[in-house]
Amino acid sequence: MLRRLQGMLVKEFIQVFRDTRTRTLLFVPPIVQMLIFGYAATLEVRHIPIAVLDYDNSQGSRELLSRFTASPYFDVRTYLSDRREIGNLIDRGGVTVALQINGGFAQDLGKGQTARLQVIVDSSNSNTALIAVGYINQIAARFAQEFQRTQLFRTAPFAPSRIPSIVLERRPLFNVNFDSQWFFVPGVIGNLILVMVVSLTAFAVVREREIGTLEQIMVTPIGRLEFILGKTVPFFLIGLFDTTLVSLVGTFWFGVPFRGNIGVLAIGSILFILCMLGIGLFISTISMTQQQAMVSGFFFNMPAITFSGFGTPISSMPEWLQALTYLNPLRHFLEVLRGVYLKGVGLDVLWPQMAAMSLLAFVMLAISVARFQKSLD
């Protein structure tokens, strides 16, 4: 028993590590992707390109516009002189927002009447559009408030202090600066491990099926379990190594704080990798060619990532979908990752996630082992 398993393992490791290209493929892409996704995956909306059409051309309108140029959220790209230019500019994606200040804006304000500010927004990306409109609202509101105060101060110097107002006192926990990288980097770790382990495992088996060596192995007395262990143990170890690698990038490159216990993260990673080995094996039992394995892998990866809470909150999904996400190992692993990284919580809090992943790993591996037959039909 042990000799055959040992034989399988020796062979797998020789195959993985002999070829420089394969060796590189195991370790370089995860790091590169971690770097790319770490920067790219963000919900923050900054530097929104904006066009300005100022028909008023007054001190008041210029003052308002200066707040946009000073804001980190907006880049004023062009000053227009004709409103017909707006449509074209937005069509070509030159700007996301156009701001139109009509004539009489400052005058209306001075008279204490309602002054109108028109915003034309490209809402094809609804999220960005909503956020942009929100920022504009804030800037406009603050401008109006301060304008009122100055006006009041001029007419009745002691009155402004009596204007009632509500001030929000924010006390963010865990991520004080609302840095979205802190939120995304642990998620990217989960995604990368998912994609790596599932495809490596599926491909390793299907490739042997394709080149015919699987048939040759099937006629030897090797046990099903020996074969499966021989195929999965190497990718389990590689998966763990990759997890460590990308976690280090997350901590030392992106500066995401690691507040929890490394042991808790290790347990979570091991359970998650076991789930992914189960999925990879399952895909290999339903795929005859590497192409089929690739497509099946894709059909698993996309929903797994979408329904994990990686980018969009699970709480905003329909309820029946929310219930289904409990079957998604990535959902649980992301909670473990974020819990350990940002909140610093331990097993006392994360045990339900760990239990769920253990159960899922057991079920998936059991199904795959049962499906893996030493025959061709």
Binding site: V10, Q15, I211, E215, T220
Partner: protein, 316 residues
Amino acid sequence: MMDHDTIPVLAHDLVKRFGDFVAVDHINLEARTGEVVGFLGPNGSGKSTTIRMLCGLLRPSAGQALVAGFDVAREPEQVRRRIGYMSQKFSLYNDLQVIENIRFFAGMYDVPASVLHERTEWVLDMAGLAGRESTITGTLPGGWKQRLALGCAVLHRPSILFLDEPTSGVDPISRRRFWELIHAMAAEGVTVLVTTHYMDEAEYCNRLVLIFQGRIVASGSPTELKQQAMAGELLLIECDQLGPALDLLQQVPEARHVALFGKALHVVVPDAQTGIPRLRTALSAHGIAVSRIEPIRASLEDVFVSLTAQLSGQRT
């Protein structure tokens, strides 16, 4: 090990269906110790499927097969310990060294450490690869690869060897060398079942089994087959206008089977004495000039073509 009375390979009414398609249709088969049995048949006739069932790679849909005395459906693991299998696809690891492939399969077959060295040397010697142990297998020429694959399939000294088109894509000299190895093993008591569609290879077998559309249509030694199957005498005809001649002869009642062989026609007639003048007359009556017409010894290819032609005619 097997005791002496056990018939190494015994199949009884073996059937394999894939959906509605019957790939193997009630095949009965027996191979004795030290016998080299050849499976002949066109592509898709069910040769490989039969071999795969005997190796325990496919489950029979009906019938029974005993290999080394064990039922292939119920005790496939017992069967696997006692057989060697080599498939038409080259199935060693191309990215491993020669010696790593040998060690891998030795591990899979649990070859005892005490004999590992001796077996390794034997395989290297047999494949002619001594001194090239650390060559990457994928860079070896076809003939070497194929002998190495055979070596890896017999590392555990199986008493039964299944070879599924082992020589496809290998040059003639390597093929001959390969067959010498097979005969050497058979001489030591190994039972060999081999599929091929090279007719010259079929002559190397002690016994041939012709499979057509999933059924055994003839079996016997090469010599027996030639005598039985032809049921008449074979004539070689050389003439001009081969195409019209072929069409014409198919209309002549005495000419049982007419087939094109290179630049000549092969025709089976019940009797050469009376057949030759009749055919000659028929041909010249249509203005076809015959340069040569004489009885020849049937080759296996004639047998094969004649049998499959008969059967195709019956079934369509």
